[in-house]
Subunit: 256 residues, 2 copies
Amino acid sequence: MQSCKFFGYLARAAPGVRPQLTNHYNMALTYYKTEDQVLLAVDCIIFGFDEEELKLVLVKRSMEPERGKWSLIGGFMKKDEDLDQAAARVLETLTGLSDIYMEQLYAYSKVDRDPGQRTVSVAYFALIDVASHQFEGVQLETAQWFPLSQAPHLIFDHNAMVEKAVARLRRRAMTMPIGFELLPEKFTMRQLQALYESILDKKLDKRNFINKFKSLDVLIRLDEKDMTVARKGAYLYRFDKEKYDRKVEEGFSFKL
Amino acid sequence: MQSCKFFGYLARAAPGVRPQLTNHYNMALTYYKTEDQVLLAVDCIIFGFDEEELKLVLVKRSMEPERGKWSLIGGFMKKDEDLDQAAARVLETLTGLSDIYMEQLYAYSKVDRDPGQRTVSVAYFALIDVASHQFEGVQLETAQWFPLSQAPHLIFDHNAMVEKAVARLRRRAMTMPIGFELLPEKFTMRQLQALYESILDKKLDKRNFINKFKSLDVLIRLDEKDMTVARKGAYLYRFDKEKYDRKVEEGFSFKL
DNA sequence: TCAAAAGTGTTCTGTTTACACCCATGG
DNA sequence: CCATGGGTGTAAACAGAACACTTTTGA
């Protein structure tokens, strides 16, 4: 047991001083090497929205064990990058997309979560606009969009990750203007409402929804209309990020 | 190392299969061993409340570099435990306390965050009632309570951890009954209010505060009074966890 | 008897919800 | 000319904020 060695050393180095068990930074420079190292993975929950419902990307596992089962995309953090970079790299490798909204979710660390080897995985979730981006990832063949409600059973603790990601997304959607990450640059009010309805998984009132956004005053109504959607056509809107940022500076906070 | 045997077996079992770069679970069984491993630390933000203000525990670093600087308590996760267990162990080693409310906060992973060695640290925060518990940790001499507002500059990214923990605590306090973790079993309304005021860092209205809690209906007013606090004495209350749990089952959610 | 802190309700204001009809257009 | 989906306002209910006086008792 390495901690025994540790105590012995400290007793010699600083006689009379009681071993400092709790501050790893004290131990760090002399004893980091005796500590266990583990593999650090990142797994990505990729959310997308396609005019109807919320979806996520899953890949089919092609090896034993769990061959043929669905899983999140993931990869290992390298020593010369941080977790955010690792997550962005994993996402880009699959989708070819960079500059995507990503957020760290939670670290999963159960001892037996991965039967292959002791691995701690930090889950991230990403928001992408399905319509505006073409996937170019090397693993495109094995990746597939699933409606959230029809997602299959996933390997390891990936279902728990997805559940937590959905909960986080719901909370974020109510308090931050991240919904726009899931929509094209220009969108109609009905699209925006459909998005929120699918995130929150409940019907919203059309008039109240529009009034709410009007009062938030961070959308620009364009002069264009989307004529494909109805005979009358529907106004297109754009999120005014500059205005939003200005208002945040002044103490504004987005609350749906 | 049992995983090596394991890899060998799998490689033979599925010859000719190309490594799948983006799904680490595919790589896992054949390529885990080529992946970087890192040290996984946990750092604990320990919050306490002592009738007046919110405090946190810091320890003084006794080794170079950064000797004499203040830091959070921390330690390394061992291979046979998960992060929650590591955090609980670190906390218990310092304070002698177990069965304490703890919650995972965020994983900090900047490449150069710890000059000693590549270390990823998962921050946890803990809530303890200062008054009711005696510290018995081996490191008691070097540990000290600091009022939140007077916390010193900390090593590495620990100040960022504290900031995030405070923000999380604020959010939690508004939406979950975790304040009671910071109070004795029995407490007065004024204590509870002082706690919330120090968490939220703003004055609250006495009557509105009490009315709010009355309407939540999860406190039991005892027949005892705390006579030390005023000539008139102040009613003591207890959090009714059973009632709260029952109400949650029925769809209730705590919103302050 | 007075100083110190506790306890207690009501009004006002702003926010959220519920709700129904007209409009523009393509077929 | 009509079917389809888009756009619009108001009233009622509710929740949050503001606010002041009485009670108890130890010194």
